[in-house]
Amino acid sequence: MSANLRPLAIALGLLALWQAIVWLSGVPPYILPGPELVSAKLVEDAPLLLHHAGVTLTEILLGMLLGTFFGSLFAISMVLSQGLRAWLLPLLVISQAIPVFALAPILVLWLGYGLASKVAMAALIIFFPVTAALLDGLRRADPGQLDLARTMGASRLSTLIHIQLPAALPAFASGLRVAAAVAPIGAVVGEWVGASAGLGHLMLHASGRMQIDLMFAALLVLAVLAISLYAAVSWLGGRLTPWRSERDR
């Protein structure tokens, strides 16, 4: 089967499975609505869903930008300075040791019910994977190439720009893929704790009113959002590292 058709086949298979479970189990629609009910809701409430999806997507994208920026800053500082690394590495581990979910109520308290607290959640949750991946990539530059750069009279910064950073791109792209997969979690958890918009907020709202079909519709939109984001980041990663064969990615 063509690689392009495979995701479609998987999606159709999952839909069929979903429908089969609904038919075979006889679960009432207010517990598990079937695909056709949810599709109807998707169409009916499309403007509402799109509005909330837009909010969540904005949170995710801003969170990824912020998390990637600070993660890269951290990783590059640690590679440039042995002294800084000694100070930053424990901070990095601590950032990972504190469960980000536990921070959600505090962040909402500090940053309010709006965009900021969700962006902070998404940024925090991707900070570690991005930093760790980039740091790993930067430190795995070929020592022979670094030696060559030294004999060519390269400065520390120039070596970083021309050799270490490009060499770290594949690892960085992997880190970004992980970030794309987990950033939606951060945003949605932030919305659950307290928000006035977003797919997480919509789901919570629908749950309170027993609108299970709307909950599933929101969940579906969230899944499509997360998968599209992952695919986009994967594609971008591939475009940025054309020298790597498909097999290595």
């Binding site: 190439q145 030696d147 060559l148 004999t151 060519m152 120039s158 021309h162 590292t241 054309p242």
Partner: protein, 260 residues
């Protein structure tokens, strides 16, 4: 194989000030807690190709890295006979091509200029690649090149640096015999007039290219001179006396290996 051989460059001294000699004194390197060599003195004669042979693991590459300023846990000094600073006069070529996989062949050749923030002379890089029979490969990335082509790009990168002192660590060892033979001839042309240290494990390469042949052996390692064949490099291996020279060099190498 390399059709443009007849356009090989004039001697380095025609266009530059004469290359300086390189004086190494009191070189000592500890590797993995083991002293590879200590208080080693060596002068690389100005404008000549010195070949360094010796058993594996004796420290040939380490000595080369020491001269290039890359050895850790090292002491001793490297000075140039003209009194100038060493680093800007050196070009270094390792056993592996060390090409950056994300750059085209041409951009790999001008890597030194990019790293130093200088304007890259792409025309000169392309001319060098053309000399090395790589005219069609200038825009290709290393993953599209064969091993021999990659090594030729690495040679072009070394030559692009246009330094009076060139340090080469088994630069042709990963090539097939035919490519190696042509590259040796080409390198000999390009290196004429420069002060060269060529580490090799191939006695024939030393006999072909060396104007001076040194043997590094023992623990801690010491240097020994072996008389090179007469005539300028690249020498014809079919020439009279080459067989005897090879036999003598092999005997010295075997003795050196046994002494370890």
């Amino acid at each position: 194989m390399f059709s443009t051989m007849d356009s090989a460059p004039a001697s380095y001294t025609d266009t530059h000030r004469p290359a300086p000699a390189v004086q190494i004194s009191g070189a000592a390197v500890v590797y993995d807690g083991e002293e590879l060599f200590s208080s080693l003195d060596l002068t690389l004669e100005a404008g000549r190709i010195t070949c360094l042979l010796g058993p594996s693991g004796v420290g040939k590459s380490t000595l080369l890295r020491f001269i290039a300023g890359l050895a850790e846990d090292a002491s001793g000094t490297v000075t140039l006979s003209d009194g100038s600073a060493t680093a800007p006069k050196l070009a270094y070529m390792a056993q592996h091509d060390l090409l950056l996989p994300w750059l085209s062949a041409r951009d790999n050749v001008v890597l030194g200029a990019r790293l130093r923030g200088e304007t890259a002379d792409k025309a000169r890089a392309e001319a060098l690649l053309q000399e090395l029979d790589l005219a069609d490969a200038t825009a290709l990335r290393p993953d599209k090149l064969s091993g021999g082509m990659r090594q030729r790009v690495a040679l072009a990168r070394t030559l692009y640096e246009d330094r009076p002192v060139v340090l080469m660590d088994e630069p042709f060892s990963s090539l097939d015999a035919v490519t190696r033979h042509s590259l040796q001839a080409l390198a000999a042309e390009w290196l004429r007039g420069r002060t060269v240290l060529l580490v090799t494990h191939d006695p024939l390469e030393a006999l072909r290219l060396g104007q001076r042949i040194l043997l590094l052996a023992g623990k801690p390692a010491k240097l020994r001179e072996v008389a090179p064949p007469a005539g300028p490099p690249p020498r014809d291996l079919q020439a009279v006396g080459m067989g005897e020279a090879h036999a003598a060099l092999m005997a010295s190498l075997q003795a050196a290996k046994a002494a370890r």
